[in-house]
């Protein structure tokens, strides 16, 4: 016979499980609020100091003209990543109206959660997005709707330490490393000459987003802008994917890049000569390293290759009551004037078709950013696909095994990962 205390505990646990079952199975309502609501709203910004400064200026300018529709700006709550903080906020119903730091990879998951507002449902929603971005706008469609406004990009290029290049006997003004063969020859020179311990140091860690800073920019360049997944199938199990994977596998096999994460900033410490980076790096290294930038390499040395956009976008959340105000503020904060201020404050490239001409004065005054403005014309992004994060994690696991650690062959990686990815996308 069951001991009375044990029976009590068992009854309590059963009751708790049943309560959980009942409370989680429920729900109801259509989940949406009227897009016509106006009034005060809250927006979240990334914790980048320059972006917070820009955001506060834009909010102040708006509030001065719209006392009844006051906007409050906050930094995204602390978490190991903004995506996790936002996922939690959607689930809890505490998401703000707008978040200015949305990674495309996270959007399909949040759409499935019912957390995002389809901007296409605003009368001028789809046209605003398409006028802003041009042809590339299609990349940002999820379930035939725009759940994100493409906002700014950080096109990925190869950043190099000019002093290290000079020590290695490479002309820092014209490194001539556009082809894989030349890039590998230059890298060997750097390591063999002792100018730096490693030629390049992409983070070899296992996070799902790391391919965006090693494999993916080179794959976009090699394939002329083909995304990882197209028409619900993985694209990379082909000669382009093989060329890129072989290139990185050679880099690791010859010890030109370390298999371990750096314990400090490898560029500043001088332990590596190159990194893949966006325009944010210009300001970051202004004081410490004399850096130059060149496009990512391709097998045949393409002069104007496509690269990864590393875009951050803006989404509206279903928890927002005053969606009409949110939409007007979204347009206000991404106007030509606000975008110009963003460029000046952060050096990040507003995602709009007319970048170089619209802000010609800025690029004339800041020539180091001009190369990025030019590169921003040719970028690709992460595709909007189901199970997006799972796809990138599966890709990373397989890449890590074959390319970084050489445990499996490149061919096995390409065919195996492509099969897994296609399976995940097709659900």
């Amino acid at each position: 016979m069951m001991h009375p205390r044990l029976a009590g505990t068992a009854a309590l646990l059963t009751a708790v499980a049943l309560t959980a079952a009942c409370s989680s199975g429920g729900g109801g309502g259509d989940g949406g609020t009227s897009p016509s609501g106006t009034g005060p709203i809250t927006v979240w910004l990334s914790n980048n100091e320059q972006e917070v400064g820009w955001g506060q200026d834009v909010v102040d300018a708006w509030n001065a003209e719209h006392p009844d529709e006051e906007v409050t700006a906050q930094e995204i709550p602390a978490g190991s990543s903004s995506e996790e903080a936002i996922t939690a906020a959607i689930t809890a119903g505490t998401a703000p109206c707008l978040v200015y730091n949305i990674s495309s990879a996270a959007v399909p998951g949040w759409v499935r959660q019912g957390g995002l507002v389809n901007l296409s449902q605003f009368e001028d929603g789809a046209s605003y997005v398409e006028e802003r971005v041009g042809e590339g706008a299609q990349t940002y469609l999820t379930d035939d709707g725009y759940y994100q406004l493409p906002w700014k990009s950080n096109p990925v290029m190869v950043m190099y330490n000019k002093t290290v290049f000079e020590e290695a006997g490479i002309d820092p003004e014209n490194p001539d490393m556009a082809t894989y063969d030349d890039f590998l020859a230059g890298s060997r020179k750097i390591v063999e000459s002792g100018a730096a311990d490693s030629a390049i140091w992409p983070s070899p860690t296992n996070e799902f987003f790391q391919p965006w800073f090693d494999f993916y920019p080179l794959y976009l360049a090699e394939s002329g802008g083909t995304p990882l997944v197209e028409d619900q199938a993985a694209t990379f199990d082909d000669e382009n994917g093989r060329a890129v994977a072989d290139f990185w596998a050679t880099i690791y096999a010859e010890g030109l890049a370390p298999q371990e994460a750096s314990t400090d900033d490898a560029m500043s410490a001088g332990t590596t000569a190159m990194q893949l980076a966006g325009p944010w790096a210009i300001a970051s290294y202004a004081e410490s390293v004399d850096v130059g930038f060149m496009p990512v390499p391709t097998s045949d040395g393409e002069a104007e290759p496509v690269t990864f956009a590393d875009s951050k976008n803006v989404s509206m959340f279903t928890a927002c009551e005053n969606q009409a105000t949110a939409w007007e503020f979204l347009k206000f904060s991404t106007s030509e004037e606000s975008d110009g201020k963003l460029l000046e404050a952060t050096g990040q490239m507003p995602l709009r078709t007319d970048l170089a001409t619209t802000y010609a004065d800025y690029f004339a005054a800041n020539p180091s950013y001009e190369v990025f403005a030019d590169q921003a014309e040719r970028t690709g992004d992460v595709p909007s696909i189901p199970n997006s994060v799972e796809v990138w994690q599966a890709f990373r696991d397989a890449y890590s095994s074959a390319v970084i650690f050489g445990k499996t062959s490149v061919d096995e990686f390409l065919s195996g990962a492509a099969e897994t990815v296609t399976g995940l996308v097709q659900g």
């Binding site: 729900g27 689930t91 959660q113 860690t205 296992n206 314990t263």
Partner: protein, 302 residues
């Protein structure tokens, strides 16, 4: 009438116990346990048997009952099986090492060695320090160009410790043993106070040497604490997350240090598949429960 009121009193007493005030004081903790532990556990069990994902409030989507599908999915996933194997490797190294080292060091400290207070602090400081900062130090020590490899010279392993599939998990096991040791030493030190001095004295009179006294007086004297140390070490070890996340770059190299909790984080939080994450969690609860019961049973039989 009087019978009825007596019945009422008995019922009340049954509910509140003999000390209603005491029950009242215990109530906040009961509420804490129910809301922070029992409810999430019950909820996790429910999630593990459904096709579940997190939704915004008010969004009504079907979350059908799927029976054991989530369990079947995780039990046939090579990465999940590898994570449990990795935890096995960890526990085989970490648990015996923890028990032996903490008991031996506690006995030495209790025996009145010189600078005992200094040693006590030295053992306890790693336990107090945040894992994240200690991981930084270990990375400096055990990275390819780190201090340890510099000292070892040609004897340094290739690939280095943290990127070597055979050495990554043992390295983590050593790190955790070192980090947690101070806490277990403290438990044993407290237990050693309870071992009567007379037993040692009479054993000495009977001609027992130091090893024999340790073996036949100290070890049986702290058996209760050994069970506690075993169970705590198993639970802490099986819930390993920070170290594979930071020290070996997210379960690397090539998955050699992936742990169930790291997978729960990836699947449940990052990839928004809480159903399979909950299934891994349930398996982990069962494995930890069985191991803890076994540790208890083995020690009792001895």
């Amino acid at each position: 009438m009087s019978t009825a009121s007596a019945d009422l009193r008995t019922t009340r007493r049954r509910w509140w116990g003999r000390q209603p005030i005491g029950s009242l004081f215990a109530l906040p903790y009961l509420v804490f346990v129910v809301t922070i532990f029992a409810y999430p556990l019950g909820f996790a069990v429910w999630i593990a048997f459904h096709d579940y994902f997190f939704t915004a409030p008010g969004v009504d989507v079907p979350k059908p009952f799927v029976g054991f599908d989530n369990f079947a999915a995780v039990l046939t996933d090579p990465q999940v099986l590898e994570s449990f194997r990795n935890i096995g490797v960890f526990l085989v190294i970490n648990v015996p090492l923890t028990v032996v080292l903490s008991l031996v060091l506690a006995t030495a400290l209790d025996g009145g060695i010189r600078w005992a207070a200094g040693y006590r602090i030295a053992f306890y400081v790693p336990y107090l320090t945040a894992s994240v900062s200690l991981v930084g130090v270990w990375m400096l020590l055990f990275s390819s160009g780190g201090l340890v490899n510099s000292v070892l010279g040609p004897l340094a392993p290739d690939p280095s410790w943290l990127v070597n599939s055979s050495l990554a998990m043992p390295s983590i096991a050593l790190f955790v043993t070192w980090k947690q040791l101070g806490f277990y030493i403290l438990l044993y030190l407290a237990a050693l106070q309870g071992v009567p001095r007379e037993l040692h004295e009479s054993a000495e009179t009977d001609g027992a040497n130091a090893w024999q006294r340790f073996r036949n007086v100290t070890v049986p004297g702290v058996r209760g604490t050994t069970v506690l140390v075993l169970v705590l070490a198993i639970i802490t070890g099986a819930n390993l997350f920070t170290e594979p996340y930071l020290l070996t770059n997210g379960g690397g190299p090539d998955g050699a240090s992936v742990t169930p909790v790291l997978l729960i984080y990836q699947r449940g939080i990052q990839q928004q598949n809480p159903d399979t994450a909950a299934a891994i969690g349930m398996l982990l609860v069962i494995v930890v429960g069985v191991l803890s019961l076994a540790a208890n049973r083995i020690n009792r039989e001895r």
